[in-house]
Symmetry: C2
Subunit: 272 residues, 2 copies
């Protein structure tokens, strides 16, 4: 079993739902192996929710729209409880909402539509050119980038950054690009794409130089295809920064150059 599967596993708890809804309860353990500074990475903390949700939508195994609001930081080493409600089970999609709590406090709430990506016709129109990047070997290992925080998560994911996008303050764009894969050789899956969409340094780095903590308020990931084995190539760009927040868009391609996910997040961003 991969590190990702093992460290995001959920166990069902006795249900306590009302009769007109399908409500599941699960427990999970968040390890500190995916921490950024002192707290679990948001994409990692979300992954166990995705597993709990998927277990209640057996004929719709693939998340296609995943919105998560981060209410309070998650805590590594503390048990977590996840409540999942099936709000609609349809023929083509299922919609579920969830709440992950620790120590009785809500931490992460999600609204998720699941589908079976394989049931849809494979035609595709894309008005998004694939991004060109230097090979992973010519990119900078994220662990070598000075960021002023401990990054235990780099024991779990291997992140290589395009050197052109990490020169602090050297660009007029808030753009970061690079490659990501699991450190233990596990191939990417639809379940890993929300994590991969939240595991890069913040994109304002190249525009503004050193940036502080940019906590995610809300992250939405649209998963468009099953990724082929190999590296995931991604870029993140904040085109709208101000008013104490930023909107950052992400694009993720697989090794066959298929666009496998799009992401957008709203994050708090207070300078000065």
């Amino acid at each position: 079993m991969s590190q990702f599967e093992q460290e995001t596993a959920v166990r069902p708890l006795p249900a306590k739902g009302s009769p007109n809804e399908i409500l599941g309860r699960f427990s999970t353990d968040l390890t500190d192996a995916w921490n950024i500074a002192g707290n679990p990475n948001g994409g990692y903390a979300l992954a166990s929710t995705l597993r709990a949700v998927a277990s209640l939508a057996p004929d719709h195994p693939d998340p296609v729209s995943v919105t998560t609001h981060y209410l309070r930081p998650s805590q590594a080493g503390q048990p977590a409880e996840i409540e999942v409600e099936v709000v609609r089970h349809g023929r083509r999609t299922s919609t579920l909402r969830s709440m992950m709590s620790q120590e009785g406090k809500s931490r992460i709430t999600s609204l998720i539509t699941m589908t079976d990506l394989g049931q849809w016709p494979p035609d595709r129109y894309l008005d998004i050119p694939p991004m060109l990047l230097p090979d992973p070997e010519s990119c900078v290992d994220r662990s070598l980038l000075p960021q002023g925080v401990e990054l235990p998560i780099l024991s779990r994911v291997d992140v290589r950054l395009d050197p052109a996008t990490i020169e602090p303050g050297a660009s007029d764009q808030a753009l970061i690009a690079g490659w990501i894969r699991f450190a233990d050789g596990t191939e990417p899956s639809v379940m890993s794409l929300p994590l991969f969409a939240d595991a890069f340094p913040p994109s304002p780095l190249s525009l503004l130089g050193r940036v502080g903590w940019i906590p995610t308020v809300e992250l939405t990931v649209h998963i468009r295809a099953h990724p082929k084995p190999g590296w995931i190539r991604a870029c993140f760009r904040a085109r709208d920064i101000g008013g104490g927040m930023l909107v950052e868009d992400g694009l993720l391609w697989d090794s066959s150059d298929a666009l496998v996910a799009q992401s957008r997040q709203l994050a708090l961003f207070v300078t000065g």
Copy 2:
């Protein structure tokens, strides 16, 4: 009182929440004045939810992140019930989730973060150039565009479309742009922006010619500023169509050229 306020008003119902959460219940009436074909427009159906949510977050009057999943079509002329749960009330933001039901069936579920946009510093970095459009007078009134469906909503909003973006099948982009305002002269507000982000014809029109119903699965709107009085200028572009779905991005500017909202929706799109 404006048509928009009047026709999205909510009335509190007795609460039935558990003690550890703040749960409000509301009733509302959806009129058929905002219909597209036989059902209320999704942005309109969402507006009463926004009012219910705002009434439970009095110190955070402005929606900043609004995600809505459309579970089943709403019905005009039927009473609706909206349940709202405050999942976190913080100093700078409040997060709420809601469920709108009719005839005992869930129709719309939302996850919303509210703030007070006025509390944040006004600095802004934008890497999104304002879009140039012909004046509203030189654009095409949406009511004159043959679309094959009745559009009662055009009694409530005035939509003018850039002629260059509505020639069916004449473009290699799925792009539609134009102007929108309330028909009764009401000025735009943050509460109206999600509606305005969902009131244009589908963007694949210019790429593919005639398109059928493209039901929204999920719509997320980020509201970035209070709009100034006057027309709202907007463009919508689907850059990722296929696999039975499309992802369409929207940008909305006010009359002072400020980017007031960004939107993204996932919609079902099955051709042939």
